[in-house]
Subunit: 232 residues, 2 copies
C-alpha cells in the first residue's frame, strides 16, 4: 500500500505538540520525570546511536539492538532482506522501540535511594516495510547522513542489488513517552547527618581519534566533520 | 513456590559450557559473529550498566530499560512493588533481556559496507519474583556490590518497609546468545582503490570525576575504589 510508506509531513510541522497519552504510554512510576512532548522525545531519540526494538514472534518477546534514524514522526531501521526480525516486522507487527542514555550513577546514604541519572524514550507503533525504491534509497541516504553529514555523495554509489538485499522498516510513532532523571542525591532527611559518602559519578559516551583503514590510499584526506556525530 | 527462587549453583559450576541452541536463539544473520558459550555471554552482560527487557502485556510488546545484575545463570532486576512491568513479570511472563555495547563506527567506501563494532547478548527465560525475604535482601546487597564493591556494609541499613516496597525479579537464563563485531573496514575488493576515506571511529563509555553531594558532611572521605566499576 503506497499510503503506508508515504513520508511524514515536514519536520517543522510535526515537531510541535505532544503525543497522545493512552493506557500504553501513560507514566505511572515516578511520573514527574516523564514528558510526552515531541521536543523531549525526539531529543532523546536523536542523541542516541542505537536503540532496542521489542516485538513478538509467536507470542515470544524479542529485544533486538539496532541503529535507528528519524524523520519527523517516523522512525526507521534497516538490515538484511532475509532477516528474521525484519521479515517478521514487515508483516506489520507491533513494536516498542526504546532508546536509553545512562548519564550518571547516584550514590545515596541508604541502599534504597541509590539511583542513576538517565534519559530514555519509549515509542509505540506498527512496523511497515519501505518498499518504494525511491523512498528506500532516500531513507538509506538519510541513515548515512545522520551519522556523517555530507558523506553520502562522497561514497561509491549504491548498487541496485545492494538496495535489493536491504530491508528498510519505517514506523510512525503513535504513542511515545520520555523519562529522565538529572539530579543529585535524594536521601531521607535524617540520613543527611550520616558520615557516609554520597554523590554522583557522571557517565559519558565519547568518540576517540579516527583509526584509518590500513588499505587507505596514501593521499586521501580525512573529510571535515567526520566525527561530527557527538553522542549525547 | 520455593523452587522458583532458589539460587542457582555456584558460579564455578555454571560458568562453563554453552547455552543450548534452539530455533529461538540460533544466529542466522552473520552467524560467524555469534557465540553461545557462557563465558562470552556473561562477559557482555557483566560489562554493561543497563539492559533492555522485552515482554508483552495483552499481546503488545514493551521494551523497558533497567539495571540488571547476575549470579551464575540467573539475571536479576528490581523496582517498585507497584510497577506495572514488574507486576506483569511477577506472574511468570516470558522475557528477552538484551545488553548492547557500541564500540565503534565503521566507515567504508560504500554505503553498503558501513557498520558498527559492537558486543551484545540476548537472554531468554521466564521471570520469577524473588519473594523469600532473605534471598531478596541478599539480591539487593548484590546489586549494590556489583556497582560499588564494599559499599553495602557502609550504608544505613535497609528498613523493612523499604524491602517490602521493592520487587526483585530473577530469571534463569534458558537460552542465550552473544554477537560481536570487532574489526576494521570490510570493503568490496575493487573499492579499496577508491580515494574515499575509510576507517573506524572508536566509541567508549567513560566515568568522570565524582561530584560530592552538596550536603555531604565535611569530614567524610571518598571511599577507595568507588568508581571501581569500569564500564566496558
Ligand atoms: C538507564 C536506566 C536504568 C533504569 N534502572 C531502573 C531500575 O533499576 N529499576 C527500576 O525500577 N527502574 C529503572 N529504570 C526506570 C524504568 O525504565 C521504568 O521507568 C520503571 O521501572 C517503571 O516501569 P513501569 O513499567 O512500572 O512504569 P510505568 O510508569 O507503569 O510505565 C507506563 C508507561 O510509561 C512510559 N515509561 C515507563 N518507563 C519509561 C522510561 N524509562 N522511558 C520512557 N518512557 C517510560 C512507557 O510509555 C510505559 O509504557 C531505569 C531507566 C533507565 C533509562
Ligand atoms: C549496537 C548494534 C547496532 C546494530 N545495528 C544493526 C543495524 O543497523 N542493522 C542490522 O541489520 N543489524 C544491526 N545489529 C545487529 C542486530 O542486533 C541483529 O543481529 C541483526 O539485525 C539480525 O537480526 P535477526 O533477528 O534477523 O537475526 P537472527 O540471526 O535471525 O536472530 C536469531 C537469534 O540470534 C540471536 N541474535 C541475533 N542478533 C543478536 C545480537 N545482536 N546479539 C545477541 N544475539 C543475537 C538471538 O538469539 C536471536 O533470537 C546491531 C547490533 C548492535 C549490538
Ligand atoms: C546500586 C544500587 C541501586 C541502583 C543503581 C538503583 C537504581 C534504580 C533506578 C534507576 C530506579 C528507577 C527510578 C525511576 O523510575 O526513575 C530504581 C527504582 C527503585 N529502586 Fe533502586 N537502585 C539501587 C538499589 C536499590 C535498593 C537497595 C532498593 C531497596 C532496598 C531499591 C529500591 C527501589 C525501588 C522500590 C524503586 C522503585 C521506585 C518507584 O517506582 O517509585 N533500589 N532504582
Ligand atoms: C551509517 C551507515 C550504516 C551503518 C552504521 C550500518 C550498520 C549496520 C549494522 C551494525 C549491521 C548489522 C551487521 C551484523 O549483523 O553484524 C548492518 C546490517 C546490514 N546493513 Fe547496514 N549500515 C549502514 C548503511 C547501510 C546501507 C547504506 C545499506 C544498503 C545500501 C546497508 C545494508 C545492510 C544490510 C543488507 C545488512 C544486513 C547484513 C546481513 O544480515 O547479512 N547498510 N548495518
Amino acid at each position: 500500500m503506497p499510503g503506508d510508506t508515504t513520508l511524514p509531513p515536514r519536520e517543522n510541522e510535526t515537531s510541535r505538540g505532544s503525543y497522545p497519552v493512552s493506557e500504553r504510554n501513560k507514566l505511572r512510576r515516578v511520573h514527574e520525570r516523564g514528558r510526552y512532548d515531541r521536543e523531549a522525545v525526539h531529543a532523546v531519540l536523536d542523541a542516541a546511536m542505537l536503540c532496542h526494538v521489542a516485538y513478538s514472534i509467536e507470542g515470544e518477546p524479542y529485544c533486538t539492538p539496532t541503529i535507528h534514524w528519524r524523520e519527523g514522526d517516523r522512525l526507521y531501521w534497516h538490515g538484511s532482506s532475509a532477516s528474521r526480525m525484519l521479515r517478521q516486522l514487515k508483516a506489520g507487527a507491533r513494536v516498542c522501540l526504546t532508546v536509553s542514555h545512562l548519564d550518571g550513577l547516584v550514590l545515596a546514604r541508604s541502599g534504597f535511594h541509590h539511583s542513576v541519572n538517565y534519559r530514555s524514550a519509549m515509542c509505540f507503533g506498527t512496523a511497515r516495510i519501505v518498499d518504494d525504491r525511491h523512498e528506500k534509497e532516500h531513507a538509506l541516504e538519510t541513515l548515512i547522513e545522520r551519522f556523517y553529514p555530507g558523506r553520502a555523495r562522497l561514497l561509491r554509489p549504491l548498487e541496485p542489488q545492494e538496495v535489493k538485499a536491504t530491508m528498510v522498516i519505517g514506523m510512525e510513532i503513535e504513542e511515545a513517552s520520555a523519562k529522565m532523571r538529572a539530579a543529585g542525591v535524594g536521601d531521607d532527611e535524617d540520613d543527611y547527618a550520616l558520615p557516609i559518602w554520597a554523590g554522583v559519578i557522571p557517565v559519558r559516551t565519547v568518540v576517540d581519534p579516527l583509526e584509518a583503514c590500513s588499505r587507505l590510499l596514501s593521499d586521501v584526506p580525512v573529510p571535515e566533520g567526520l566525527s561530527g556525530f557527538a553522542p549525547g
